[in-house]
C-alpha cells in the first residue's frame, strides 16, 4: 500500500515529465487499439453482410460475384432445389443478381468514386429479411428506379432521395434508401436486374442467393451441388463469402497498424526509459536511504517497476479513452478485394480495452526494467554520497 502511494506520489511530483511520457505511451496504445477497432469494424461490417441461412452460388472458380457467371437456365434448375424455402406466394426464396463495379464522378467535387451496383429483384427482401427501406419505397420492376444503401446516400449527394444517378448512359432515379444493419449492402445501389442486364449487355447472372429452410443442411447442400457435373458452381454461406471479400483489406489494416505500433512503441519505450532513468538518477540518495532502512534490492526493483507500470497504465488508459472517442466513427475506403467503396466503422470491444491495457503494461515492464535494475544495483554507500571519511 505504502509502496503504491510512494510510486504514485513520485509520478505526481514530476507531473510535467510524467504527462509527456504517458502521452507518448498513450499515443502508441491509441494507435494499437484504433487499428484493432478498424480491422474489427471492417470484419464486422462484412460479417454482418448476408444471412447465415442463405447460400450464395457463384460459377466454379470465381472468387467474387464480379468474376462469376451463371446462365438463366442453370439458375432456374438451381432455384428448384428442395432445401430452398418456398414463400407464401409459392415463389422460391432465390434471388438472381448481377453485381457491377461502376466508377462514378461525384457531382460536388468532381472526384471519381467506385460504386457497387446490384441488379436484383423484389424477392431479395424475402431472402434478406434484415434489410429494410428507411425512406421512400422499393423500385418498381421493369423501371430504372433504384434504391441506395444508407452509406451511399450519406457519401453521394446525388444519391439522395428523388435525385438521379447517371450510369450506363441512363438516368436512374433514387426512390428509396435502405439500411442493412451496418453491413456491406449499405454501400450498394440496388435496382431491377433485367434493366441492368439490358443496360450493360449482360446475358448471365453474377450470383444466385438461396434462403435455406434449415441452415444446418448447407454443408450437405454445398457438397451435393458442387459435385453435380451439370452445374459447375461453388456454394458458400453468404456471410462467409462477404467476410472473405474483406480479408485482404483487414490484413492490410492489421499489418500497417502493427508496423506503426511497433515503430511508435520503440520511440515511446525509449522516452519512458529515459524518464525512468532520470528518475533513478534524481533519487539516488532516496534509494540509499531506503536500503539503509532495511529494504532489499528486490524492494527497490519492485518500487521502480511498479512506478513504470503505473506510468504506462496511465498512458494506456489515456490511449484507450482516446480510441473510445473513435467508436462508431465511420470511414469509407476502397475495398481492395472488390474495388468498391466500402464504409465501415471503428468498433471498440471490452477485449480490445484489455488488450490495449495489457500492451501498456508490457511497455511498462520493458521501459522499467533497465532503470529499475540499475536502481537496485546501486551500492548503499555510493547512493548516500560516498561518505568514506
Amino acid at each position: 500500500m505504502l509502496w503504491s502511494v510512494y510510486s504514485l506520489r513520485n509520478l505526481w511530483a514530476r507531473r510535467v515529465t510524467t504527462l509527456l511520457t504517458l502521452s507518448g505511451l498513450g499515443l502508441v496504445v491509441f494507435v494499437f487499439v484504433a487499428i484493432l477497432m478498424l480491422a474489427h469494424g471492417l470484419e464486422q461490417t462484412m460479417g454482418r453482410t448476408g444471412d447465415p441461412s442463405n447460400a450464395i452460388l457463384l460459377s466454379k472458380g470465381a472468387l467474387s460475384e464480379i468474376e462469376s457467371s451463371l446462365s438463366r437456365d442453370q439458375t432456374g434448375v438451381l432455384a428448384a432445389q428442395p432445401e430452398v424455402v418456398t414463400l407464401a406466394d409459392h415463389q422460391v426464396a432465390a434471388v438472381r443478381e448481377i453485381a457491377l463495379q461502376l466508377t462514378l464522378r461525384k457531382r460536388e467535387r468532381g472526384s471519381l468514386a467506385s460504386l457497387s451496383v446490384r441488379g436484383s429483384s423484389p424477392v431479395a427482401f424475402a431472402v434478406r429479411p434484415r434489410l429494410r427501406i428507411v425512406q421512400g419505397r422499393a423500385w418498381q420492376p421493369g423501371t430504372t428506379e433504384v434504391i441506395v444503401g444508407s452509406q451511399v446516400a450519406r457519401q453521394f449527394p446525388e444519391a439522395r432521395l428523388a435525385e438521379t444517378l447517371r450510369f450506363g448512359r441512363r438516368e436512374w432515379t433514387v426512390v428509396g434508401i435502405f439500411e442493412a444493419e451496418g453491413s456491406g449492402f449499405d454501400s450498394e445501389v440496388w435496382g431491377d436486374v433485367d434493366q441492368m442486364m439490358t443496360t450493360f449487355h449482360r446475358t448471365a447472372f453474377s450470383s444466385m442467393t438461396l434462403r435455406l429452410a434449415d441452415p444446418e443442411v448447407l454443408p450437405a447442400f454445398k457438397a451435393r451441388l458442387e459435385r453435380d457435373p451439370r452445374f459447375k458452381v461453388s456454394v458458400k454461406r453468404e456471410p462467409e463469402y462477404y467476410e472473405g471479400k474483406a480479408e485482404g483489406l483487414a490484413r492490410l489494416i492489421r499489418v500497417t497498424g502493427l508496423f506503426l505500433t511497433v515503430v511508435f512503441s520503440v520511440g515511446a519505450i525509449l522516452g519512458a526509459t529515459m524518464t525512468m532513468s532520470a528518475s533513478v538518477a534524481h533519487r539516488t540518495t532516496e534509494i540509499g536511504t531506503l536500503r539503509t532502512l532495511g529494504f532489499t534490492r528486490g524492494h527497490i526493483l519492485q518500487a521502480f517497476m511498479l512506478e513504470s507500470i503505473l506510468l504506462s497504465l496511465a498512458g494506456g488508459l489515456l490511449g484507450v479513452a482516446g480510441a473510445a472517442l473513435l467508436n462508431r466513427v465511420t470511414i469509407s475506403t476502397v475495398n481492395w478485394d472488390t474495388g468498391a467503396e466500402l464504409a465501415f466503422g471503428f468498433h471498440l470491444t471490452p477485449g480490445m480495452v484489455g488488450e490495449g491495457l495489457l500492451f501498456a503494461v508490457f511497455m511498462g515492464l520493458i521501459c522499467g526494467l533497465v532503470p529499475a535494475a540499475r536502481a537496485a544495483r546501486i551500492e548503499i554507500v555510493h547512493a548516500l554520497g560516498e561518505r568514506t571519511a
Partner: protein
C-alpha cells in the same frame, strides 16, 4: 552497562583510489556495551562515517569480524544483511533523508512496512514515535513544510519506530542551528536514558559529543583509547 552490543575485532577497511590502496580503518578492535550513548569524534577523513556504516551493516570490512546484536555481520548475505538492518538498526542521517513525497507519518511508517504489523498497529507505532519526538501535531505535513529541526526529529522518530537494538546517528546535528541541535541531542539523550537505547553518534562538534556518556576519538583510522 550491559553485555556488548557491538564487538569489533581487528577490523580494517581499505579502498582502492586511483590505483592506490587507502586504509580508512586500521586494525580496529573495541566493544560497545548495551545502553551506551557513545560519541565518535574525529576530523574529516578520519574514518568515523565508515566505522558507523560498518556497524550499521551498510558497508563491509575488508578484514576482521564485526558482531552487532549477536550477529556476525561480515558473514551475512546481502539480503540477510538488509533484513538484519531492518530489525536491529535505526539510522539518523545528517541530511535527514526524508522521502519528499511522503508525509511525516508515512516517512516514519516506512521501516514498519518491513514488519508483519497490521495497518492499525503500524499507525499506533507511528503516532507514538512522532509524539515522543514532539511532532504529534505534524503527522500529515510533508518534509518541505517542516523546519530543519522538525525534519530531523521525524528522522529520529523513523529511527526508533521499529524499536531497533541500536540507533546510529551520522552527524545528526551537522545541518542544524544551535537550538535545534540542542533539541535533537536532548532527544537522543532521553532515548538513551529513559528507553535504554544504545546510541552511537558520529560528530565533529565537541558540544554535541559532550552530551554522550562516552567519547572516542578516531584519528587516521585508529581509535584513541581512553587513558
Amino acid at each position: 552497562m550491559g553485555d556488548p552490543v557491538v564487538s569489533l575485532h581487528n577490523v580494517t577497511k581499505t579502498y582502492i583510489r586511483g590505483g592506490t590502496e587507502v586504509s580508512v580503518i586500521r586494525d580496529l578492535s573495541f566493544v560497545i556495551p548495551a545502553g551506551t550513548f557513545l560519541a565518535i569524534m574525529g576530523p574529516s577523513g578520519s574514518g568515523k562515517s565508515t566505522l558507523l556504516n560498518v556497524m550499521a551493516g551498510i558497508d563491509r570490512p575488508t578484514s576482521g569480524s564485526v558482531v552487532v546484536a549477536g550477529t556476525r555481520l561480515d558473514q551475512l548475505s546481502e539480503g540477510e544483511m538488509a533484513r538484519w538492518r531492518a530489525r536491529h538498526i535505526g539510522y539518523v542521517f545528517q541530511t535527514y533523508n526524508l522521502i519528499p513525497v511522503l508525509t511525516a507519518a508515512e516517512n516514519v511508517e516506512l521501516p514498519l512496512a518491513l514488519t508483519h504489523l497490521t495497518r492499525r498497529e503500524r499507525a499506533e507505532h507511528v503516532k507514538t514515535a512522532l509524539r515522543l519526538v514532539g511532532l504529534g501535531d505534524r503527522m500529515d505535513h510533508y518534509p518541505r513544510q517542516l523546519s530543519g529541526g522538525q525534519e530531523q526529529r521525524v528522522g529520529v522518530a523513523r529511527a526508533i519506530v521499529s524499536d531497533p537494538t541500536m540507533i546510529l546517528a551520522d552527524e545528526p546535528t551537522g545541518n542544524l542551528d544551535r537550538e535545534s541541535a540542542d533539541d535533537i541531542l536532548t532527544l537522543l539523550a532521553r532515548l538513551n536514558r529513559e528507553l535504554g537505547k544504545t546510541i552511537v553518534m558520529v560528530t565533529h562538534d565537541p558540544r554535541a559529543a559532550e552530551r554522550a556518556q562516552m567519547i572516542r576519538h578516531l584519528e587516521k583510522g585508529l581509535l584513541e583509547m581512553p587513558p
